[in-house]
Amino acid sequence: MPLDKTAQRDVPAISLRHVSKLFGGVHALDDVSFEVLPGEVHCLAGENGCGKSTLIKIITGVYTPEAGVEMAFAGQSVTSVTPNVARQNGIAVIWQDLALFPEMSVAENIAFETLLGNLPRLVSYRRLRARSAAILEMLGEDIDLDARLNTLPIAQRQIVAIARALISDAKLIFMDEPTASLTQSETDSLLGVVRKLAARGVAVVFVSHRLAEVLDIADRVTVLRDGKLVGIFEAEGMTQSRLTELMTGKTFGAEVAARDMTGAPAVLEVEGLSRHGEFEDVSLTVREGEVVGLTGLIGAGRSELGHALFGMTRPDAGTIRLSGRELHLRSNRDAVAEGIAYVSEDRLALGLVQPQAIADNIVLPILPRISRRTGLISPTEKAGRVEHWLRELSIKIGQPSDPVSTLSGGNQQRVVLAKWLATNPRVLILDSPTVGVDVGARAGIFRIIRDLAEKGLAILMISDEVPEVYFNADRVLHMAGGRIRGEYDPRKVTLKELEAAVYG
């Protein structure tokens, strides 16, 4: 299956010119060109709604582009693409949700293609396993072929998805946010696999929000904005801030916002907090009006610590104090009552009740406060609170009765903030507050966080993106292996030094 890298290097694995796509009169794509060379790792960058996924769907034959397009697979010009044509030309997509079958075996997942077809045939499990084993061996991965997929960690499932793409002799693989839920070491090994693929002449198109990773792995970057091509750039020499500018069309002043808050009274004091298998002997303090950044790789125990502080899990040892008083949280209801709020990193599943109204989501944590003693909800009280917070956080919506799912990621995150601010908290724990929020909308979220701190809220901001905490926190704590490893003052270290400490 490997192509001869030198011979075919100049003939693009795929090339498209003048791609346009209209949705109800709106240009989702407007005269875009795109090209990937064999053996190249190409990154497709842009904000949500820039046309990335439309482009992928056109290449894989899910959507039909407008007339005037020129397409070629491996130098062969094609007129129209269907999913079948795309598959036959060796184009495979690994979607973010992987499209795997958790209840089936690894071998079946990898070689599922051999199970397709509308006529029944007997399954040869021997051949199935042999083919899967060969692919895994080529990737240098050792995964039990008979294990049920849902017993594997996410990183290995990712490998299974890649193996499935390869079994159909893929020459061009699209990867949609493949590292979104991987730890750093898992990410590293995945990037290793991608390099291996590239060395075998497979072209890989990488879509990721994590710019550092993009610049690390990619040879070239295609940037889209509002359905238009901004340009194709060599990754060599590109910086994160330059890339952000290209994606958003705006310049962001990256200035350290840290202040000296040592004089302020402590609000949240944690001492010697431990929970077996999650975190060990964690001590930290968050003061009034202070933003404390807590960073570390995925799996360092950050989110687990957040859960314990919010009363979702019970620590085995240690104390949590709020303004000097020791708390014994039996559930997150106790935490909310004490004035602790927690913005989950999983907005879709845990942050908001997506199908329900915006207004209902905002008042969900404060139901007792908007109800009369009879348990009846006061409509005026409810409307008043909703209106207040929509205005306060300048959330742009149609109607408060619209489902939350109709909002953009950035606006949804504002709704999450609104619902927690409505509880009038003293401590706000933010777990990855910009996940799924466009680069352009992130600044707005951080501005809100900053304003809240100015008003005296104690904020613990958890994030695995080091620059995020570096630029927006007053102090940065580094967590690894369930322990706090160090404390940094952004004014006294450079971003490079901090990143070296965290990733090093």
């Binding site: 997150n332 997506q354 969900l364």
Partner: protein, 332 residues
Amino acid sequence: MSRLVKRLRATYGDDVLGLVAFLLLVVIGFSLATPRFLSAANFDSMAFQLPVLGLLTLAMLAPIISGGLNLAIIFTANISGLTLAAILNYYGGVDAPFWAFVLGAGAALLVGAFFGFLMGAVIAYVGAHPILVSLAMMIFLRGLGEFLTRGGDISGFPDYLKPIGHGFILGVPVPLIIFAVVAFAMHVLLSHTRHGFSVYMIGSNIDATRYSGVHTQRTLTLIYTISGLLCAIAGILMLTRFNSVRVGHGEALLLVTVLACFLGGVDPFGGFGRVVPVVLALVILQVLSSGLNLLGANQHLSTAVWGLFLIAVMVLRFVVGRVRERFEKRRN
């Protein structure tokens, strides 16, 4: 005219207006088909038949909104009725004093609530699937009832119970009054209270609701307890209506309650559904059944028509959705 329609649509929603329009259509159709349809006797008979099914449907509604189902409603009602019957019989059967009824009714309500509570607790705290839990509870209660009654009837109740099942107050049948009061209470509970609010949220996403500081387990337990309580009321009403209790009485109504809920626009996946359209759906089912009955068809044809009717409504919803989609695409 169009402004009025718009106002009505804004206040009551498309589903309610659609159901009302359909109800009118059915009523007009039957009135033309048979003169007996628009008679006081027919209205009374409908008004006496509707409440039992109505109460059971309300008992089904709340669990469905919470994302579950309660398949044990009929037998919970039976067991509750059995409790009342046993206590009445113990204190003399036909000659039982009124306080024995009060005691028995209280005990019946407690029994209904208890089994509801048990189901709710298993669903909420163990995390077992509501269909399974209520299915197992249904089989258990049916067995318990058959064990206690040896599969027979219990009858012979005091005369003062008659008015509850057959009497009028100010010209309105008593069962209908009971149903109206319960339906109103459920409407208030679901649409206007904290508890009801949480039920909708749980139905859409229980984890996110729990993360927002709502005591989801208590809410779920409570909703099944209330469901059991409503079953008990239905059970007591059945006793007074039929003047007997038999385990398995009303068994055929189980799936009809689900049908009424879906017809009333309740989301089978939970999170959405209101009392008003469900009551309208109930009225439609009752009108269909009574009208067909007057035309000489039997109960079984009504059952078939109910089923076909649900299919027709779902197919129509699908087709309307498709047409609307096309229309919007073209407009863009």
